[in-house]
């Protein structure tokens, strides 16, 4: 056994007597010679084994490992002895310390031996072991691990980078790239996308575990990048667009797990998320296209009773869009981790196809109309709220919100005036949702309509009190709803009609009452918007009929002629003074509907100018009170549609001019481009204005001297107060 004190003292004495250099070089030479002879006698003989059998190659690792362990032990003891040299001679001469010098010697005399092909064999064995494991063999991980640890322990001359990088990792990465290039080409051909993605995921997990088990964490991002590039990035489109179980089929079959996997894998590579979003958008647009194509009348088979075909189409369109949206909400939450960029992509795809349907604003309003009139009956508050919220999300996608507002006003007005709304509370709930989306301005008129309804109830109470003390009571009962003309979608001139004298008399009484209370207000009667309760005597019994005012005007004509006599259409037209289209619809409702109060000759569904009518005295029905439906809210005809669009265009011109003036009043002077940008910003919540349209409005305002072009620069405008 050696004495530490004696050997240490020897080393110490040599150094303090200036023999440091000889000591250092002597030690170095000795280690070098020893390592060379060990390499030759112990490592070289097993190298051949690795050449003949990849599996047996692990022997090279084991021999290497033994030699390395022994070397490190010896180096530690030598360092202990030569501390004094390391601290004095070595530091003064800027040499590697004994331990590091020993590691360099192992690197250069064994691993990178110029005499023997140890390096190439070591690399081959390590890579073979890993390839074997990738192919499913069980390998001696411990042997590989101790070798990679050895390579990590030795450094390059800079003392920093482990030789692991140059002697192993670079090669590992390159061979892995080749391995995964070949494997992914093969797998993508043999398996469908869900299976392929599972295999990719497994490979990613395996490589991660490999790094943590027997390579190093530092290799992990590099090998991960290789697998991602070779297995994911290069096959994005192939996997997504595959006929059999590509993205489209995963979506159709709601394969959440596979979609989630696709999302997670694709998101790992640059462009992956974008490609997937593109695929989703394409699919949504494709679905949207077929939903939009479905609004052709011919595509509907069964129409629910009492719903006109046009309305049924509208309801189905909205429901189909809602269903699609619901599916994608589920995908977003359960497969795409509520990723914001996916949400944006999905929303913009919806937005684009929804706005491709020019009737979208009308359809959405009709949908809500139908819910508020019928569908919400017997539903809980929560259910109602859910449906309204979903509808509001669709509303958010509309670019023509002003057109929607127009329809909504029309439908709301009809609900309120005909008492068809199921619940005031739900109506107000819907309006408050719209208010949140579009602000106070958007809903103030709608809210005004509710106020009118409430005030009218009060007014009627007061009217009844007034009648108790009045001298001339009206010949019929009268119920009046007073509407503020700017809130309601009423025509500026009422529909023409000749009111029967008793109706006229009643309205005069009310007028007197109202103007006495509200001096200076002007009442315009829209008689045709109301309805009337009539008592009618038939052969069998009396019935109470609730009909539109227009129908009442028509029916009352038959009071004046003997029973059984007919009146031709033209006479009715003259006597009532109603416009032809309104009159025809009214006659349809009393002569061609479920309850035939009049008999039309010849019998048919449509009204012709040559038809004649007579009172159906043989009419018989179980119920004593009969409500005769007027034709309900319906999808507009093309001429109405054109009219609506003209009105919308007018309104838009006003809004644009108002916005321009608001901006210019504030800025006083502004250049053309900035003005356009600011105006678009102000209007976007209502509709998407075209810059050319704004330009025209600017010119119109210049003509009317609200603005002027700045002298010397035509692209700048000044505000003229």
């Amino acid at each position: 056994m050696l004495s530490y004190e004696e050997i240490y003292r020897c080393g110490y004495n040599l150094v303090i007597h200036k023999w440091g250099e000889r000591l250092y070089n002597g030690v170095k030479e000795l280690i070098e010679q020893y390592l060379e002879s060990e390499a030759e006698s112990k490592v070289v003989p097993v190298l051949g084994v690795a050449d003949t059998s990849p599996a047996e190659g692990v022997q090279v690792l084991k021999v290497m490992q033994k030699l390395w362990k022994h070397h490190v032990t010896c180096l530690l003891m030598m360092s202990d002895i030569l501390v004094h040299m390391d601290r004095n001679y070595v530091v003064a001469n800027r040499l590697p310390k004994t331990y590091d010098m020993g590691l360099f010697l192992f690197r250069d005399s064994v691993i990178r031996s110029p005499k023997y092909p140890i390096q190439s064999h070591l690399q081959m064995v390590l890579l073979n072991q890993i390839t074997m494991e990738r192919k499913g063999d069980v390998i001696d991980r411990g042997a590989v691990k101790s070798c990679t640890e050895m390579l990590l322990e030795m450094k390059e001359n800079n003392g920093n980078d482990p030789i692991y990088i140059a002697d192993f990792e670079n090669l590992f990465i390159e061979t892995s790239r080749e391995f995964y290039r070949v494997e992914s080409d093969d797998l993508v051909r043999r398996f469908d996308p869900p299976e392929y993605m599972r295999k990719v995921e497994n490979r990613l997990d395996e490589e991660q575990l490999r790094c943590s088990h027997y390579l190093t964490e530092k290799t992990e991002p590099k090998i991960r990048l290789i697998v991602e590039q070779e297995m994911i990035a290069k096959h994005l489109r192939t996997v997504m667009e595959m006929e059999n179980w590509g993205l489209k089929q995963l979506l159709i079959n709601s394969r959440l797990g596979d979609l989630d996997r696709m999302y997670r894998l694709f998101s790992r590579v640059p462009d992956g998320a974008r490609e997937l979003q593109g695929g989703l958008s394409d699919y949504i647009r494709e679905c949207g296209k077929s939903i939009n194509a479905n609004i052709q009348a011919s595509t509907i088979d069964t129409v629910e009773k009492g719903i006109p075909l046009g309305v049924a189409l509208a309801l189905r369109w909205v429901q189909e869009v809602l269903d699609l949206k619901e599916r994608f909400d589920a995908f977003l939450a359960q497969a795409f981790a509520k990723d914001k960029s996916f949400e944006t992509a999905i929303n913009s795809a919806f937005e684009s196809f929804i706005n491709l349907n020019p009737k979208a604003p009308e359809f959405m309003s009709l949908f809500i109309d139908n819910k508020l009139k019928k569908d919400f009956k017997g539903k809980s508050d929560d259910e109602i709220d859910t449906i309204l919220n979903k509808t509001t999300t669709l509303f958010r996608f509309l670019s023509d919100k002003d057109i929607f507002e127009r329809y909504y006003k029309q439908h709301l007005s009809s609900r309120l005036l005909h008492g068809k709304s199921l619940s005031d509370e739900v109506e107000r709930g819907m309006i408050s949702k719209l208010k949140i989306e579009c602000g106070y301005q958007f809903t103030s008129k709608l809210e005004g309509m509710f106020t009118d309804m409430r005030l009218s109830t009060d007014t009627m109470g007061a009217f009844r009190e007034f009648l108790e003390n009045a001298v001339d009571t009206p010949p019929t009962e009268l119920n009046v709803t007073v509407l503020t003309s700017t809130f309601w979608p009423v025509p500026s001139t009422p529909v023409a009609c000749n009111l029967p004298t008793q109706f006229l008399a009643a309205s005069k009484v009310f007028e007197r009452f109202y103007t006495s209370r509200h001096n200076g207000r002007k009442l315009t009667w829209h008689a045709t918007m109301g309805n009337v309760d009539l008592r009618a005597t038939f052969n069998s019994r009396k019935h109470e009929l609730n009909v539109s005012t227009m129908a009442a005007i028509v029916l009352l004509i038959f009071n004046d002629i003997p029973d059984g006599e007919t009146i031709p259409y033209t006479t009715i037209e003259q006597e009532t003074g109603l416009p032809a289209d309104q009159l025809k619809r009214t006659l349809q409702s009393v002569a061609c509907g479920k309850f035939k109060i009049l008999i039309k000759e010849p019998k048919s569904r449509d009204i012709d100018d040559t038809d004649v009518f007579k009172f159906n005295s043989a009419f018989s029905e179980k119920l004593s009170r009969i409500k005769i439906q007027t034709i309900a809210s319906k999808v507009e005809t093309s001429s109405e549609l054109k009219e609506t669009h003209e009105k919308v265009e007018d309104a838009r011109k006003h809004m644009a001019e108002a916005a321009i003036v608001r901006v210019m009043k504030n800025r006083k002077t502004l250049d053309h481009n900035n003005l356009i940008t600011e105006v678009i910003g102000q209007l976007q919540g209502r509709f998407n204005p075209a810059p050319s349209m704004i330009k025209k409005r600017i010119e119109a305002l210049i003509d009317r001297e609200y603005l002027e072009r700045a002298p010397g620069d035509r692209a700048i405008y000044n505000y003229l107060a």
Binding site: M1, L2, S3, Y4, E5, E6, Y8, R9, Y12, I16, M77, D80, V83, H84, R87
Partner: protein, 117 residues
Amino acid sequence: NPDALGADFLRLVNSPVGADVRLIIGEEKVMMHGHALILQTRSTYFARALTTDWKEANQGNIIHKPNIRPAIFLQILSFLYTGRLELDETTVMDLIRAADELLLDDLLFGCERFALT
């Protein structure tokens, strides 16, 4: 009171109480007592010498130090145990040499500063 710690530890210097290291010092081979725990903690030299790789540890913790005089070594021990040492001109050169050999940088610098003033 940090002074009390030094004073107490001074009583352990070359004391047989709890000693587990024998130090044979100088050409005259004077035997001194040492405590492995303290020596290993205070000095890397002793820490290495007392690992099982070497004869010293394997043959009953006996350390020979023939090239240091007993009087000087006793001062070294005092320094190791207490962290303090009274220096005087007669011994400072010998202490410097010993501190250098035993890699006691603290002591070495202290002695050098004393020698220069």
